[in-house]
């Protein structure tokens, strides 16, 4: 390996790989440096118990931006997405579960059993989301404009946006303006009367955030996610072989396009001279020169850990420190000897083949959040469960299963406790909670893996355990992600760029940040040719 490259990308997470692909396709020779022994970042599949493989962190995709899937030809590189018939099943203590099929009509039919009006409203809400998502998905692919000196393309983009907003009609425009800053609890209450239905939809507005359903701005989080999938309760994107299959396919695609990927290569420092990036130094001591360095690591890690902050202006550093990265999600992976039976679903395997939602009411979700505000993890947590082995037997031995659980709220900062000594308690709380809906679960557990927010930071490099590289909140999106004046993937250091989820749009496993970043970086690289 020559130790001089035109572009070095720090971190082989999905956004890094997407960026690498686009740069390689444009004729550059990007080198991706991955600290761990496999690429994938938070989208990885690992054997966590002999014979049991799990999507260790993320267990369902964003879904990916269609253009990314298309450009990278991910299917051709072995990616097979699995879309179960059911998106989400919301469990309720009284055993009357709500099964939300992918098919809106089937979903509505199930809702109608609880409430006729909610069934109608579900269709209505879906239609409304489809309208807004057309507009918002435009925003997702937009580079946040330069406010003081908007470029021609900025103005054009905004003009396009403005026209599609206004074009969508008075009602939709006002919906968009009014909904954005709302609390998701209020928005769902405007449509639905059933608390379980409200909760399962509201969950989409709070997942991964340090906000509760009553927090203003959570409606926007839902709208951002709806841009990728207009199904009210959110879609469902498993990959055959687990989430790792997505990043493996991305890696192949990037390599075939001409990118080089080096695993087990941890960057110790970004080399900077006279305000411009010169390359990187690895922990191994090796130095690699580069004309440009792109960091797929989160903003705080990039600027506070991988370089000397004194190279940055006080204003920039202050804003960076103000960028909120409070993790709230823990991950529990269970190896099961068999499929647990969920009360109220009497062996309807379809119903548990998608995502399973535990959080039976708005107040339940809000109370779960309340505890985290004071530095405790929720004793009655909000859970999102997946049993991918149902639709993908390759993940577990025959007849046995893998259960993958997001647990919220698990605040990174605990009050008078440490995650080292709370790990067991966290696992037990989650299992106890699920057992209320699937009493036979505990007897089926062969192995439990608990990943705390601290693990997310220490093992997977997510500062603060924040799975989105920075909270999704009104003040940390679009032109403010990661901060005002620096939301265009460029940084105060010449030729140093960001391409991770800490940049716009940064909403989970979509690849949009990487694709947007690559577009901007290519502009600069071409200009310098």
């Amino acid at each position: 390996m020559s130790n001089s490259h035109d572009v070095v990308i720090i971190g082989g997470g999905h956004n890094g790989l997407v960026a690498a692909f686009y740069l390689a396709r444009a004729g550059y020779k990007p080198l991706v440096l991955e600290r761990r022994n496999q690429v994938g970042g938070a989208a990885i599949t690992e054997e966590f118990h002999p014979g049991f493989r799990a999507s260790l962190l993320a267990h369902s995709a964003g879904p990916l931006r269609p253009e990314v899937v298309r450009d990278m030809q991910l299917e051709k590189h072995g990616l097979k997405m699995i879309t179960p018939a059911v998106d989400v099943t919301a469990l309720s203590p009284d055993g009357r579960a709500l099964v939300l099929y992918r098919d809106i009509e089937k979903a509505a039919a199930d809702i109608a059993k609880i409430s006729k009006s909610d069934a109608a409203k579900y269709r209505e809400f879906h239609a409304a989301l489809e309208k807004t998502s057309r507009i918002i998905s435009k925003v997702l692919t937009l580079t946040p404009p330069e406010i003081s000196r908007p470029s021609k393309s900025d103005l054009f983009g905004l003009l396009q946006l403005g026209r599609s907003v206004r074009g969508s009609g008075k009602k939709n425009t006002y919906d968009l303006l009014r909904w954005g800053p709302m609390a998701i609890a209020d928005l769902v209450a405007e449509f639905f009367e059933n608390d379980l239905l409200r909760a399962v939809i509201a969950a989409r507005g709070i997942f991964g955030t340090f906000l509760g359903p009553w927090s203003a701005g959570t409606a926007l989080v839902l709208l951002l996610r709806a841009a990728a999938d207009a199904n009210p309760a959110g879609g469902n994107c498993f990959a055959a072989g687990g989430m790792g299959a997505i990043t493996q396919a991305m890696a192949k695609s990037a390599q075939q396009a001409g990118a080089e990927i080096l695993t087990g290569a941890e960057v110790a420092e970004i080399k900077i001279k006279d305000g411009a990036v010169r390359g990187v130094a690895l922990v191994s001591g090796e130095e690699i020169q580069a004309r440009a360095v792109i960091s797929n690591a989160d903003p705080k890690r990039t600027f506070l850990k991988l370089m000397d902050p004194v190279l940055l202006s006080p204003t920039f550093t202050k804003r960076l420190q103000n960028f909120r990265m409070n993790g709230t999600v823990a991950k529990i992976n269970l190896a099961l000897s068999g499929l647990p039976s969920f009360s109220g679903l009497d062996g309807n395997n379809d119903a548990v083949s998608g995502r399973i939602h535990i959080g039976p009411g708005i107040d339940y979700l809000e109370r779960a959040f309340d505890e985290s505000k004071y530095g405790n993890f929720s004793r009655a947590p909000y859970l999102e469960i997946a049993i991918p082995s149902l639709t993908d037997p390759s993940l577990a031995p025959r007849g046995q299963h893998v259960m993958s659980v997001y647990m919220q709220y698990a605040p990174y900062k605990l009050k008078n406790a440490t995650w080292q000594d709370q790990r067991i308690a966290l696992g037990d709380t989650v299992i106890k909670t699920i057992a209320q809906y699937a009493p036979d679960l505990p007897g089926k557990i062969l192995h439990t893996q608990v990943i705390t927010p601290l693990d997310l930071e220490e093992i997977y490099g997510l500062t603060g355990g924040q799975i989105f590289h920075g909270e999704l909140a009104l003040d940390q999106i679009f032109t403010m992600r990661p901060m005002l004046d620096w939301a265009r993937y460029r940084t105060p250091i010449e030729n140093l760029y960001l391409c991770g989820s800490g940049t716009h749009p940064g909403t989970g496993l979509t690849g949009a940040s990487g694709a947007n970043a690559a577009r901007e970086i290519l502009k600069d690289l071409k200009a310098r040719r």
Binding site: K170, T173, Y174, G180, P181, A216, D363, E366, K373, D475
Partner: protein, 526 residues
């Protein structure tokens, strides 16, 4: 039978301002007030002989200077007495006492944290350009962002340009103010918990939000807007109580030729083929006018006063979903002596300002948590003033009135609870809470008046007891207030206007809605 040019429903400070401006433009104006006294929520009432309470609203800061000027309010008896500083007692026996004297406040904050003392000055400086940015919006008829007419577009462009012209630092601060929670925002500036807590309080007043709820930061601005043009409109009392303001506006209105009828409740707004033509009174009388302006909230105006058949369905839906959700109550006390605070015994200047029970950010947030699930705060946030210290006219010699604004007191209680049964419990909770800091309180109470959100609704006509005629949350501001597409004081019914706090720029004793709407009525009339 005389026909009026404009009939104004409601004699609150906005209704009276509205009427005064129209009369001064030569219109024949009638104001109808349901109660025996003018002022709406800006009212002084002698609840107990010799004790005059500012029953609801109790301090003033945002009254628009142009209104004071145009209506020459000082000549009509308006006198604002300064309210000096905010005193925050702490459970540990310490306190935080901020006053208008810069040096003293600096030293006081430095006592808690040197860094915060410096940051506090910076903070004040940083807020100034924010206020300058927001102020013209206060005097602006909201544009229709979906509209295509040049006026709307130019207004939107005007705002965009102003934003663009801000320095990067100001832009950063403004965006944060508009979107963040006051707790998060203040966290970026200060380290002293009690300072953050007591400052964040101004971000939640009158809302059903907690200090950690996004969208509460911008309300911090209001505090600075009061101060920005110097001491005159800094926070203060009106002599004779808050009613003094309404009375002054009322006199200005009468002088301009406005006819005011008290104890004249409106039952219906008479609509004939899509036009408002008059009002029917509770007693059955009908009064006719070319224009009807309602200063009461949208729920009364459109759901109660108007036959819904006259309104477009989607408009009605939006009115129904407009959020009130009152979250505060008042406890007004007649005192035999002054409260004696453990952390600063005896009388003194600290009693002349606002006294704030807001010892910690978590304390504030927990108070909100109680309310979210339908119960008043077990340990509430309380903002107290003792106007009788600055204005002896409101209490007998040697005696005092103490006004306690209490949050949270949610209008909607959880099933099984009712405000009329909880009233005493609520009052006692407030008194107990204060007693923790001023133990002598219980022994000096002569009379107490407890005002629950339900009382605010029943007696003062504030739906769900919301003191701002509707929550001041982001989705109910500017061109979204009160109903998207109808933020310009006009309504789907011709000749029917809104002129109350439910319209832009919203609640507080500002008068801006009353004035702005009057100018729009005149625009249409000519």
């Amino acid at each position: 039978m005389t026909t009026y040019d404009i009939i104004v429903i409601g004699g609150g400070h906005n209704g009276l301002t509205h009427a005064a401006y129209l009369a001064r433009a030569g219109k024949k104006v009638l104001v109808l007030e349901r109660r025996h006294v003018l002022g709406g929520a800006a009212v002084t009432e002698e609840v107990f002989p010799g004790f005059k309470f500012s029953v609801c609203s109790y301090v003033v800061s945002l009254l628009r200077p142009e209104i004071i000027r145009d209506l020459d309010l000082p000549r009509h008896g308006l006198e604002i007495l300064p309210l000096d500083g905010t005193f925050t007692p702490m459970p540990n026996g310490d306190y935080l006492w901020r006053v208008n004297d810069h040096g003293q406040t600096h030293r006081e904050i430095a006592r808690h944290s040197r860094l915060d003392a410096e940051a506090y000055d910076e903070f004040g400086k940083a807020m100034q350009p924010m206020c300058h940015f927001v102020k013209p919006i206060m005097n602006m008829v909201p544009p229709d962002p979906t509209g295509f007419n040049p006026k709307d577009l130019s207004k939107l462009l005007f705002l965009a340009r102003r934003f663009q012209k801000l320095s990067s630092e100001d832009r950063y601060n403004l965006v944060q103010l508009m979107t963040m929670s006051s707790a998060d925002f203040l966290d970026q500036w200060f380290e002293t918990d009690v300072l953050k807590a007591t400052m964040s309080a101004s971000g939640i007043i009158g809302t059903f939000l907690g200090v950690r709820s996004p969208g509460t930061a911008y309300v911090l601005l209001h505090h600075y807007m009061g101060e920005i043009d110097g001491a005159f409109r800094a926070w203060g009392f009106a002599r004779g109580g808050t009613g003094g303001i309404s009375n002054a506006i009322g006199e200005a209105a009468v002088e301009a030729g406005v006819e005011i009828r008290k104890e004249t409740g409106v039952a219906k707004i008479i609509v004939k083929n899509g036009r408002a033509v008059g009002v029917a009174l509770a007693n059955g009388d009908e009064i006719y006018g070319r224009v009807i302006s309602s200063s009461v909230d949208p729920r009364h105006t459109f759901i109660e006063f108007i036959d819904n058949a006259n309104l477009p369905a989607d408009f009605l839906d939006e009115v129904k979903r407009y959020k009130f959700r009152g979250s505060s109550g008042k406890v007004n006390l007649a005192l035999d002596a002054l409260p004696d605070f453990k952390c600063m015994p005896g009388p003194g200047a600290h009693l002349r300002g606002a006294i704030s029970i807001s010892p910690a950010v978590d304390y504030m947030e927990r108070a909100y948590d109680d309310a979210k699930y339908g119960m008043f705060s077990r340990r509430p946030y309380i903002d107290m003033v003792i106007p009788s210290l600055t204005d002896p006219s409101v209490a007998p010699p040697g005696k005092h009135v103490m006004s306690c604004f209490v949050q949270y007191a949610p209008y909607k209680l959880r099933p099984g609870l009712h405000w009329d049964q909880l009233k005493d419990d609520f009052g006692n909770t407030v008194i107990d809470t204060i007693s923790e800091y001023a133990p002598n309180l219980k022994n000096i109470i002569l009379h107490k008046q407890v005002v629950t959100p339900l009382d605010l609704e029943r007696e003062w006509g504030l739906s769900e007891g919301n003191i701002f005629q509707g929550e001041l949350s982001l989705e109910q501001l500017f061109f979204l207030r009160p109903v998207s597409g109808f933020a310009r004081f006009r309504t789907p019914i011709k000749n029917l206007y809104m002129c109350g706090s439910a319209t832009h720029p919203g609640g507080g004793i500002m008068g801006a809605p009353g004035r702005l709407s009057a100018l729009e009525v005149l625009k249409d009339a000519n």
